[in-house]
Amino acid sequence: MSEAISALAGANTEGFARVSELGLHGMITVRGNQSDAAFAKAVCAVAGVDALPAIRKMVGTLEGGIAWMSPDELMVFVPYSQVVERVGQLNETLAGQHFLAVNVSDARAVFGIDGAAAREVLAKIAPVDLSPEAFGVGDLRRTRISQIAAAFWMSGEESFRLVCFRSVAEYAFKLLGTSAAKGGEVGYF
């Protein structure tokens, strides 16, 4: 087996906030009826969380969590080494039901934006109200950052996690890095 590496192999840059590529994470796109109890139970078991996220929310962490992607789509985060096994577990538990589970770990890139002004880094490049009143810890948005699609959520008071397609990882890294560059502070929030 060849060794799996992430898109930018953990590149990072320090500006007024720190932008880092976070390496390999297990990501499973799951589609199905979220109001179905059996479906919810199976997905929660795989991610190791208590309940499915509410609309535009993230529960858990990158090591075990679920992100709300659309009314019929979830993104399940598990450790990279266990992703194949967990997809198998889902397929087994939900066999016969109408659902879809796909391992997309190698088709996505994950970034972290950390620092007191992390909000500003994203507020400059996404059409989203990122004021503290409108966007708090656990809130998630699927939107665009400049010219590419991305999903991000607030993982802590001063940190965001962002997922985008792996094919545009370099663009995303440079974009976030530029937005976070020293001298670019806005000081709005």
Binding site: R56, S70, P71, E73, R141, T143, A149
Partner: protein, 109 residues
């Protein structure tokens, strides 16, 4: 800037997060239909100066298609609603009638 609320994820999405999908509530005439029906389906549009019903997709978001009623002159948005319907919802039509007496869009007035 045009801002529409996505009826699926509740986001007040601005124009750059959306993609336009043309006129709403078209009835498709495909293989086997008459030439006249096909031509009407393919080319004939309301193109109103005033209230219009359109399809939009929350492309840089939840990815769902939805419908919106807005005025092509003032850009006033009357409302958005899910795509699983072939006619605009009654309460939205009432709202438009109240705001724009005498409006007409296909068979709706």
């Amino acid at each position: 800037m045009l801002t529409l609320q996505c009826p699926y994820c509740g986001v007040m999405a601005e124009e750059t997060e959306l993609s336009a999908g043309g006129e709403a509530h078209l009835k498709r005439f495909g293989p086997g239909s008459t030439d006249a029906d096909f031509e009407t389906y393919m080319f004939m549009r309301e193109n109103p100066k005033g209230v219009h019903f359109e399809r939009w997709r929350h492309a840089n978001g939840c990815g769902k298609w939805f419908h919106a009623a807005r005025c092509t002159v003032t850009l006033e948005v009357f409302g958005t609603y899910p795509a699983q319907t072939s006619v605009p919802p009654a309460d939205l039509l009432d709202k438009i009638r109240a705001a724009r007496p005498g409006f007409k869009w296909r068979e709706f007035e």
